[in-house]
Symmetry: C2
Subunit: 415 residues, 2 copies
């Protein structure tokens, strides 16, 4: 089946806006075992819009069009489809009434221009919009299906979830199962060489590797003509093999981020943490406190940029810094010990490094980072050298510290 | 001129990847006074790729194609263009030699598959790739221009900057001038009503308003057939009128972020700051320390989630918290005073609030935030209520605190 998505809107042809609706639509279609063949972005002018619809009509079996259903003169999607498919637009008074009602509930009167949103293609089914004024439309014509959807993401989603996905599911030929393994601590090329030869050759089984700084995700998708359980079994079998190869690098199989995994573990163990950051400048605290409920285990954080602050707040001996440098295993360990004691926490996390662009030397280059975890018995330290600009080094430093801590928490024999 | 961009790559038809190359290309074309009519995303299969190229050939005057120039069997852009434009591919041994040389410099041998990257459309000009193995190609054929470009962004940019933009500039019909006013402290609708009637009616003058949490940007673009100075004068005149209407909400006209504006002001005045955060959990520190050179003025930061930490670190009287609550103007002021003194800084910044999802009450709802700035003479406090989820409240809390401080710094009579 040839499926095409047309995103309508002149703003999508500027350098400022991406067509993100098509990502949502693609995910929904993929979940039904359907693939997208072509995506088109087109402006609001009727002529080019009609040309795009005509091309898709000639090529595709299913066309999803987002945007251009508003009330203003710029909104020409209905007209373009009407013109290309030869279906006149018919004003439906019951829809006018429901749009008026929507305005009334907000204490406002419907402007006359909004009547246009009640113009429906002859023979199309109306897809009620629970989140806005413009209804969607579903037209089956000449063996083709055209679906008109509003551009605002929450309206698009509301209509797809209540009406488009259920309708398409009833035509569904395949069942799909997806799994995501999130990993930290291995580079993309290390992952690729570990899973070498594991890329599936079957058409209905798919593996995609997605890399971001300090985190590689493996997306597994299986399709089945037989049943959802069959698809699930097949995606599960591949995921299990990948997990075996990748071992402890896998930190999540349910979509959770590293800070959420760490937070859940702390909450379960009823343990608390305190954080001391230098080079990452608050990012580690920010990630940990971004998790709802983190106040249960996150006691406090210190962004100790200066040596004086490291000594005053964290009780790092001035001698330790003088002898080894602020960026050293010894200082990192003393920071982790110090922040744990200062806050009265079960664990102290610390990170110190050179984020750049200046401050590096031959012996201690930009990107050198030490992270440390203290549990009161001892402080463990890990040394890394990260590539990239200041922000990228900071991101990797925070990610590495979280992952180092995650691994130590997993080893902890306590429940 | 009808300009179309085709982005080639099956990964761009998944929910995981956006076609970001086209944003870069659009910006470059816009800077030359050229607009994009249509963007198309297509997979790697030769048949659909050729169909897309054929459609664009029939419609467009200028076609930019990104991706599909790699060495593997998936890379079919050259073939598709060859097929549609009837221009055979000719292997150029000098390009083979330069690709071999590129591998040799890295101590490797060129795999035989890479020879394919030296296949050039008959009559096309080669666009040398300073950043990778696949050269670009520029074909003028039958009144149409087709430009083939590699997909990796740094390769695309290297070729465009060295060869594509200069060539297109020589055909240029218009001069373009752009300006960006960044604002904080006003909502999108407040901005819209302030600039009501200022949207230009001339075709060659354009105003776009872009909103993100706590920050609204106004993008002005002017085109001129006459000269760059004329375009510049016209964009400058509109920017000046906007600035007059928006007043102190405008914090930057050169692209700088709020933390950079604040940082430059501190560096100029030779003043230092210390930061105490509660609800924003490290984000404020993270933004301030993300600026290169921030260690000159950022002394230290405290993420004081618990009341005990606010008292122990910042010397906030337990009574202040007990009487007024941790989220109150009084506590915010005491945090700002306390962090300034503890760190020995010129200014203390503090923010306390309820980020949610839990912790709100009727009197103090989720989203309630107090930010405070102390300069040693007094602490000034501002109260806000932000909408949105936890992360959005945190983002707005940090932005508001930075903007509150920026405005106070501007009022400061010292140089």
């Amino acid at each position: 089946m040839n499926i095409q998505i047309i995103a309508v809107g002149s703003e999508l042809l500027t350098p400022y806006y991406q067509d993100s609706d098509s990502l949502y639509l693609t995910r929904g279609l993929n979940d039904l075992g359907l693939s997208v063949r072509t995506k088109i972005v087109i402006g609001d002018e009727l002529e080019s819009l009609a040309a795009a619809v005509r091309r898709s009509r000639d090529e595709a079996d299913l066309i999803l069009i987002t945007g251009g259903l508003g009330p203003t003169g710029d909104d020409r999607t209905r007209e373009a489809v009407s013109f290309v498919f030869g279906r006149p637009l018919v004003l439906q008074e019951d829809i006018v009434a429901s749009i008026e009602e929507r305005f009334r509930r907000r204490g406002r009167t419907m402007p006359p221009v909004n009547r246009k949103q009640a113009e429906i293609l002859e023979g199309a089914e109306v897809l009620a919009n629970p989140a806005g004024t413009a209804p969607g439309q579903w037209l089956d014509a000449g063996g083709k299906t055209v679906i008109l959807l509003p551009g605002p993401p929450h309206e698009l989603r509301a209509i797809c979830e209540s009406q488009v996905w259920p309708r398409l599911r009833s035509r569904q030929r395949a069942f799909l199962s997806r799994r995501v393994l999130k990993t930290a601590g291995l580079t993309e090329s290390e992952i690729e060489s570990l899973i070498d030869g594991m890329y599936p050759r079957e058409q209905a089984l798919d593996l995609t590797v997605l890399a971001s700084p300090g985190q590689i995700e493996l997306h597994v998708a299986a399709a089945s003509d037989v049943s959802a359980a069959d698809a699930d079994q097949r995606s599960g079998a591949l995921a299990a093999k990948l997990r075996e190869r990748l071992g402890r690098a896998v930190f999540s199989e349910n979509g959770a981020d590293l800070e959420t995994v760490v937070g859940r573990s702390l909450a379960r163990k009823k343990k608390t943490i305190a954080v001391a950051e230098s080079c990452s400048g608050g990012l580690l605290c920010r990630r940990l406190t971004g998790v709802p409920g983190s106040s249960a285990y996150f006691l406090e954080g210190f962004v100790t940029y200066s040596n004086a602050a490291k000594t005053a707040r964290l009780n790092v001996p001035a001698e330790t810094i003088e002898t080894n440098g602020a960026v050293s295993a010894e200082t990192a360990a003393a920071m982790a010990d110090g922040v744990r004691k200062a806050a009265g926490a079960d664990y102290g996390l610390a990170v110190t490094g050179i984020a750049g662009p200046s401050g590096g030397s031959e012996e201690k280059p930009v990107g050198l980072v030490f992270c440390a975890v203290s549990d009161g018995r001892r402080a463990r330290v890990e040394r890394s050298v990260f590539l990239g600009d200041r922000v990228r080094v900071q991101q990797q430093a925070a990610q590495k510290t979280l992952d180092f801590f995650r691994r130590l928490l997993e080893e902890d024999p306590e429940p």
